[in-house]
């Protein structure tokens, strides 16, 4: 163990003495610092825009003087997707998904107006966020630091010297891996520390736990990269060959395979087109009750049932407003249709995700990407959770209005009846509850396990490589 610590210390001494290394390190620290600052600033600015829009729409709602409840259901409201604090580290799918969703009666609208649709193409890999640098650039830097770590020792004869001094080849290899890996961990720690300092007042236990898992995923991935590079460095006499081999691995892992695997997963489990989806919904919905049509057969059946329940002969004798009841029955049926179709889509998306996660077996970068955006609450799973919360809110919102129509004191057919401002003020605003990490952690376990398995495999490769290493 002492030998290993000594080798790691020596490696760091060599690195620090190198002006090129120091220059590159300073550049990296600066760009990482910049990315955290810009990421944070951008998230805060977007949050401000979000808050202004949210307040504006809420103000419109609470300013309604008087309105018929069902007219208010058509007037509806709008919900904006909030940006979360962790977007400063990894914004995941946020720039691709929409930001605005209309909440109204009878219909579940789609989320619209994504950031990506509001300008021409700029960056294929997203904004300058720490995740971009930590996922793509830092691993390359680690490859450059590690590719000649063993081959140079062999060429200079120092490897033989180290062995003669009592170090075991496995210790040397692991120390070389650890010394470069620690550099990666240091960069990662720096990013998280700056992020923590900038957001000191907003940190919650959930964010800290998520950040902890984020840290763990990157640590494992960096270990895989460093270990594999050191393995190649020990296997090949020529350091250039080790470098080009690792560059090949990097290209295949980060540029080639994620796209291919994700596209394939989407082909294996295909989603319907929007038109098909809407037609199927419309078809199913047409089998239910039409809230706006009193002549509809199912409306008539419901009317008979209600009249019987209240023991009266006609709608005018009812103490309630049957129109509101009919509207709510329409909603309830529509909700079950939505649950069925949206549920099917969610299942397909789930299958796509699982297939993609299995891709981590051949490409740990996929597992890293999944955990990075997942633990930062910006993957599709969290997006779907947001949409579900919006839909649940829509149901409560519309039910409140329909109930007011039904039981608020008006009579059937009295569409001119209006309720006052106090009621509109009493309707609660949408309040997004961020998904807690422990509710979703099971979804990312496969990725974390794959990263652990890859780390074990890399250790096995190093052990295997050590046995075949030629000291002289």
């Amino acid at each position: 163990m002492n030998n290993m610590i000594q080798i790691i210390k020596n490696e760091w001494r060599f690195l620090i003495r190198s002006h090129i290394f120091l220059g590159i390190s300073i550049a990296f620290f600066l760009i990482l610092l910049l990315s955290v600052f810009l990421g944070n600033f951008q998230t805060n600015k977007q949050e401000q825009t979000y808050q202004n829009a949210k307040d504006h729409v809420r103000q419109q709602w609470v300013s309604i003087d008087e309105m018929n409840p069902h007219s208010a259901a058509h007037y509806g409201t709008y919900i904006f997707k909030p940006s979360n604090l962790m977007s400063s580290l990894d914004e995941g799918v946020s720039s691709i998904t929409g930001n605005v969703i209309r909440v109204e009666g009878h219909v579940q609208n789609e989320i619209v107006h994504s950031e990506a649709s509001q300008m021409q193409t700029v960056s294929r890999f997203g904004k300058l966020k720490p995740s971009l640098l930590l996922q793509y650039i830092v691993p390359l830097l680690l490859v450059f630091l590690a590719f000649n770590s063993v081959s140079n020792e062999k060429l200079s004869g120092r490897l033989k010297l180290l062995v003669l001094q009592g170090s075991k080849p496995i210790q040397i290899m692991l120390s070389k891996t650890m010394s470069v890996w620690l550099y990666g961990v240091m960069l990662l720690t720096f990013v998280l520390l700056v992020y923590g300092i900038l957001n000191m007042h907003s940190l919650t236990t959930d964010i800290l736990i998520r950040t902890g898992f984020f840290f763990l995923s990157y640590c494992l991935y960096y270990f895989i990269i460093c270990g594999l590079t050191v393995f190649f460095s020990s296997r090949w006499h020529n350091p250039t060959l080790a470098l080009t081999s690792m560059l090949g691995v990097w290209i295949i892992w980060t540029m080639f395979m994620p796209n291919i695997l994700m596209s394939s997963a989407e082909k294996w489990h295909s989603l319907p087109s929007r038109n098909e989806f809407q037609l199927a919904m419309k078809e199913d919905r047409s089998k239910g009750l039409d809230g706006h049509n009193p002549r509809d057969k199912r409306s008539i059946a419901l009317k008979e049932k209600v009249l019987k329940e209240y023991g009266v002969d006609s709608l005018s004798q009812l103490p309630i407003n049957f129109d509101g009841m009919r509207m709510q029955a329409d909603e309830d049926y529509g909700n079950s249709v939505w649950d069925k179709h949206f549920g099917t889509n969610r299942e397909i998306l789930q299958k796509q995700k699982q297939s993609y996660q299995l891709g981590g077996i051949v490409n740990p970068f996929i597992s890293l990407q999944n955990t990075s955006m997942g633990f930062m609450a910006n993957d599709n799973l969290h997006h779907q959770e947001f949409l579900l919360q919006v839909e649940n809110y829509r149901r409560d919102f519309i039910k409140m209005l329909n109930d007011k129509q039904t039981f608020g004191g008006s009579k059937t057919g009295d569409w001119g009846w209006k309720i006052d401002n106090a009621f509109f003020k009493s309707v609660p605003d949408f309040n997004y509850k961020p998904t807690q990490v422990f509710e979703v952690i099971s979804y990312y376990m496969l990725d974390v396990i794959v990263l652990f398995l890859w780390s074990i495999l890399v250790i096995a490769l190093i052990v295997f490589g050590t046995k075949k290493i030629q000291i002289v």
Binding site: R124, F125, T244, S263, A265
Partner: protein, 439 residues
């Protein structure tokens, strides 16, 4: 003769380098995969357009049958009267399509960020929810589809790197550089000849790939797009060849050259575009379309709540011909038709709101365009997007065409309502013909 010898030597070196051969093979496989992805999208969109057109045709036949059977609409919806212009136009199924260009096989550009079909009615807007992208996995869209342009813009420089990285460096390490210079005479021409060898190989491969792509869709039906795509890809290749040539010329060894090459690539492919996107997001945060929301809620209410005289005044200003119509002179029926006409006024307000949004987006686009001189990959990406009709501007044109279609629909509806036109089957079919022209 000397150049030929260098070419022959390079050919031997190339075929004896499994690493380089594998790189080229992977590049070809990725390209073919990318071309098929583009072709699949082309087929998929065309099939969807065909399916929607068929559906519209069925709806048209259903409505026509009401006229044939002397009915006014569906039995369970007695308020519908298709013999009036409002309900006839309401029931004229009209779709506006963004038909995919066959050149999409080379580059899908921003296709997946927008919708490509839009149902038009009098209250439609180019920013309606059906203008958003198709139902798709956002994680897949975020990681990007591996299309041919991705292979060209990001993998071509890397493949070029694997082909060129050890030029000169290897000779330096083997101590043979002086000998090579003695035999070849000029350092520059020796490096240039070796680089040119790979350039020729790559141009041949790229031409064959582009040609293969052309067989998957009907690219040759488009005037000169095939050659334009080839031209821009060749320019892009030359751009990287010049950068790598300079690195090799002034570089000292293989490792340092490789580091510089990959460093430049990272800078141009990742750091610069990502920084610009971040800068734009800070300066112009995502538009949450509050202007449109205001029109669709408050303005709509305000317009409908206006005094009759005000609505008339606005309608007459918008359509001066309305003043002379039959209904305008008849005070009894005017109040009924006015309610059906306010969509046209709301449409005008919506146009003002969307104009601001488009202007806002164009400011972002201008910022991006101003960075092209130091952001070449984004420049080439957008150039390819323009060639393949998948650029932001193409979708802006599509939105403008939709707006025109909505304007036309409103105008015809208001004029026909105020002229008290009675709709029969032939008039209904005329509506279908006029609205389906999409111009």
């Amino acid at each position: 003769m000397r150049n030929l010898n260098i070419f022959l030597y390079e050919w031997k070196h190339f075929v004896r380098s499994p690493f380089k051969i594998v790189a080229v093979l992977l590049f070809i496989i990725a390209s073919i995969y990318g071309l098929h992805n583009g072709a699949d999208l082309y087929e998929k969109q065309n099939a969807e357009i065909e399916r929607i057109t068929r559906e519209a045709e069925i709806k048209k036949e259903t409505i026509s049958s009401y006229f044939e059977n002397n009915e006014k609409g569906p039995e369970n919806r007695p308020w519908i009267d298709v013999t009036t212009p409002f309900w006839a136009i309401w029931n004229t199924p009209t779709y506006h399509f963004k038909t995919p260009s066959p050149a999409i096989v080379y580059n899908i550009g921003q296709t997946e960020q927008y919708g490509f079909y839009k149902a038009i009615n009098t209250s439609s807007s180019p920013y309606d929810s059906d203008m958003t992208n198709e139902i798709a996995n956002p994680e897949r869209i975020q990681s990007g589809t591996l299309d041919f342009s991705f292979v060209i813009l990001y993998l071509l420089p890397l493949m070029l790197l694997t082909l060129l990285y050890n030029i000169k460096g290897q000779e330096v390490e083997q101590g043979m550089l002086s000998l090579v210079f003695v035999q070849t005479g000029s350092k520059n021409s020796w490096i240039l000849s070796r680089t040119t060898f790979y350039a020729i190989i790559l141009i041949i491969i790229l031409f064959c790939l582009i040609l293969y792509g052309a067989t998957l869709t009907k690219v040759f039906n488009l005037d000169i797009v095939f050659w334009k795509v080839f031209q821009w890809i060749t320019i892009y290749l030359i751009f990287w060849l010049v950068i790598y040539f300079l690195i090799i010329k002034y570089g000292k060894n293989t490792v340092s050259n490789t580091l510089q090459m990959i460093g430049i690539w990272l800078l141009l492919a990742f750091i610069i575009p990502a920084t610009i996107q971040q800068y734009i997001s800070i300066n112009k945060p995502t538009n949450l379309m509050v202007d449109i929301i205001d029109v669709s809620r408050d303005k709509k209410g305000e317009i409908n709540a206006q005094p009759i005289e005000m609505i008339d005044k606005q309608l007459f200003k918008l359509y001066p011909n309305l003043n002379a119509t039959k209904v305008a002179k008849d005070t009894v029926i005017v109040s009924r038709v006015r309610g059906y006409s306010t969509d046209a006024l709301i449409n005008e307000e919506m146009k003002n709101a969307t104009k601001n949004i488009e202007e806002d987006n164009n400011i972002k686009n201008e910022i991006i365009s101003k960075t092209y001189w130091f952001n070449p990959i984004t420049y080439f990406q957008n150039k390819l997007n323009q060639l393949t009709n998948t650029h932001y501007n193409d979708y802006e044109e599509y939105r403008n065409a939709i707006q025109k279609s909505v304007d036309k629909r409103n105008e015809i509806m208001v004029l026909d309502i105020w002229n008290d036109v009675k709709v029969d089957k032939s008039k209904y079919l005329e509506y279908n013909t006029i609205f389906s022209k999409n111009e």
